[in-house]
Amino acid sequence: AQTVTQSQPEMSVQEAETVTLSCTYDTSENNYYLFWYKQPPSRQMILVIRQEAYKQQNATENRFSVNFQKAAKSFSLKISDSQLGDTAMYFCAFCFYNQGGKLIFGQGTELSVKP
């Protein structure tokens, strides 16, 4: 079965601090893409960052970076200098090369950034 597990249903962090959200996945495929999406209270789904599984270098996008450990099937998201606007649900997801690009999502981590 192809699954994504986010083991932290809720997390909180102080403004300007750093927080790491964990994600593990299970697949027997070798070629896939990984994503983190953010869903603020407006419920709009916003792409945060993506990682190609064949790349060893971890992706970064401004204050957001990932720690991709392919052998461990782990894909954590680090948010540096947390801002109040980072408060949202964060979803980890992946898709395969040859399945119409469909995404498999984790259950999400609700992140609260406190002033």
Binding site: S42, R43, Q44, F91, G100, G101, L103, F105, Q107, G108
Partner: protein
């Protein structure tokens, strides 16, 4: 630039009534299209996806169906809604070329009474 439109934003329907949610994409051609359902603010469940006109793949057996009558139009339907169909429905698109991220519409909040 590409945009995705999904409507209505909110819908309240009685049990047993029909359903039609529509999604259109502008600024691109031959996109991959997707319908997801999100229950209680948790993870998204893929319902249907389409890689071309008339090509629909169903992921979950259920009371719903999908159609793609035009290249950039994706419709989610039901003949008779159940209470369990309540939820937040999201349409998404991605380029047909390899493995670009999906971009989501603003969603439809569906309540069944």
């Amino acid at each position: 630039s590409q945009t995705i439109h999904q409507w209505p934003a909110t819908l309240v329907q009685p049990v047993g009534s029909p359903l039609s949610l529509e999604c259109t994409v502008e600024g691109t051609s031959n996109p991959n299209l997707y319908w997801y359902r999100q229950a209680a603010g948790r993870g998204l469940q893929l319902l249907f996806y389409s890689v071309g006109i008339g090509q629909i793949s169903s992921e979950v057996p259920q009371n719903l169906s999908a159609s793609r009558p035009q290249d950039r139009q994706f419709i989610l339907s039901s003949k008779k809604l159940l209470l369990s169909d309540s939820g937040f429905y999201l349409c998404a698109w991605s380029p047909s070329t390899a493995h670009q991220p999906q971009h989501f519409g603003d969603g439809t909040r569906l309540s069944i009474l």
